[in-house]
Subunit: 298 residues, 2 copies
């Protein structure tokens, strides 16, 4: 839960709401309640943003507020190729002291998503869970591969599904071929692996099986910030709703996550996520079905 | 119809059979006969390569043989990222004097593919056709956009379907967004547009509709040479067989083209194309169906 300042070819914003947990909560709360949030904010984090999510069934007991502290701040600039970005500023602020405490009321959570943070923090969350969740998914990034690879591998060994982008999959495995990279990563522990490819969609791996989901071709990707977290939130929120963690359920969840991400990039920050209705989501899923539907004759 | 020398991370070959028309003929002849070839070769082109294709129903009356001339020669090197390549040598040889003559026996061809060559040569072929084919598709490349844009636009205005890769679509349209690029290119004439994205698959555009086909995730892309031509040959050969040039038929043909291309890259040159059976093709198409199949519940 954070503040972001963003610059894209389409405009600029100085200080808007951001952070993986905000994007994931907006997306997941379309499908399931409660969404039990774990994070840390400073006294500067707007109460109305918390209230808006609370109205959607998001619980904040696990969010620590440091009244005298400042929330995490990130500033970045995107170029025409939205797949790459420059980080301009990273102020850890209260995140530097983040030591998550899982409230008693969160115990028994069946679907757990570990957002992209230090592996030690992700591990601490898992260790506090009294019952093994039905599904644990995790996100990570190149930074942790470069600085804390051993701890990262320990956490990867404990989860059911890992989500990374294609360059991270290559870095983590040391393999250039995405198929070989997927095999090596699955050998590290996760039965399921999702490799995100931005505008080129995502691949889901399970054993020797692969599912390929396209991204929705859009006239404009206005702001890609949070698209991956929105994907993850939509993915796990939908799985919590259908209660099907087989490969079949995961495939549908990849489409649902992709649909949610396609909304996210239409406006700055999580703004678009605040507007969409169940009807909008159904319509977007139909667009994915049309995009992928074909039949072979003769 | 040419010779290639290739270097990939997996090996090196000095002088093998190549050329768009060879790849396209190997692919198309799996689905339809006759395939009426138009090209030019030197006296150095091996008779057994022509005989092998003739046995598959490929006609060579439209292929000019210059006994004292040398066939076109191209040499290139691929790096780990198979989407880019360096051209080491281009010897036009007999191609410099190519002035295609459409034999009387080819008149009435309903499905016409214009391979990547000078727009003036493509135009000359179209002008010699006494009846407007049911479907004309064309390939081109950045070189013609840089040197003969006006002639290129004239040919593009005469065809039903254009096939280009994503960077060529951007260059041709002046738009970075692929969706906007597709709109502008469709305004130039072609009702249908295929944008090829290498390992990320292909997009088919028709009016406001889009179909997205993945590439088959492969452990190793051994040699990508000819993959685009094989895609095109499989695409139009299959359309000639099903005789369905609607959007529905085109979608299935994109999958068939993608399946053929996935074989092509498994060995150097067109070698793999010489081995595959109808059973192999059916099996590969089933892999595409599995790769894209999902169902949404609840």
């Amino acid at each position: 839960m954070a503040f972001d300042a963003l610059e894209t070819p389409f405009g600029k914003v100085d200080r808007i709401i951001g952070g993986s947990a905000m994007y994931a909560a907006w997306a997941a709360s379309n499908f399931t309640q409660p969404v039990n949030q774990v994070s840390i904010v400073g006294g500067d984090f707007p109460q109305e943003e918390i209230t808006a999510l609370a109205h959607r069934g998001v619980a904040f007991e696990g969010v620590e507020v440091v009244p005298d502290g400042k929330s995490f701040f990130w500033s970045g600039r995107y170029h025409l190729d939205m797949n790459t970005r420059d980080t301009l500023v990273t102020d850890l602020n209260v995140l530097a002291q983040f030591d998550p405490k899982i409230p008693e009321s969160y115990q028994g959570s069946e679907y757990v998503m570990l957002g992209n943070l230090a592996p030690a923090v992700q591990l601490s969350v898992l260790k506090q869970l009294k019952h093994r969740p039905k599904l644990i998914i995790m996100d990570t990034m190149n930074f942790w591969m470069e600085h804390t690879m051993e701890e990262l591998k320990q956490v990867i060994g404990m989860v059911d599904l890992l989500m990374v982008n294609d360059s991270e999959a290559r870095q983590l495995s040391g393999e250039y071929s995405i198929v070989k990279a997927a095999k090596k990563i699955q050998e590290m522990g996760p039965k399921y692996l999702i490799i995100k490819k931005g505008e080129h969609g995502a691949l889901l791996f399970y054993g020797g099986k692969i599912f390929s989901a396209p991204a929705l071709p859009l006239e404009e990707v206005f702001d890609p910030t949070g698209a991956g977290d929105t994907f993850a939130g939509g993915f796990i929120g939908y799985l919590a709703r259908i209660k099907d963690t087989t490969f079949e359920g995961m495939k549908a969840a990849v489409i649902m996550g992709s649909a949610m991400a396609s909304f996210c990039v239409e406006k700055f920050g999580p703004e678009r996520m605040k507007e969409i209705t169940p009807g909008d989501i159904d319509e977007r899923v139909q667009e994915f079905i049309a995009l992928m539907n074909f039949s072979i004759k003769g």
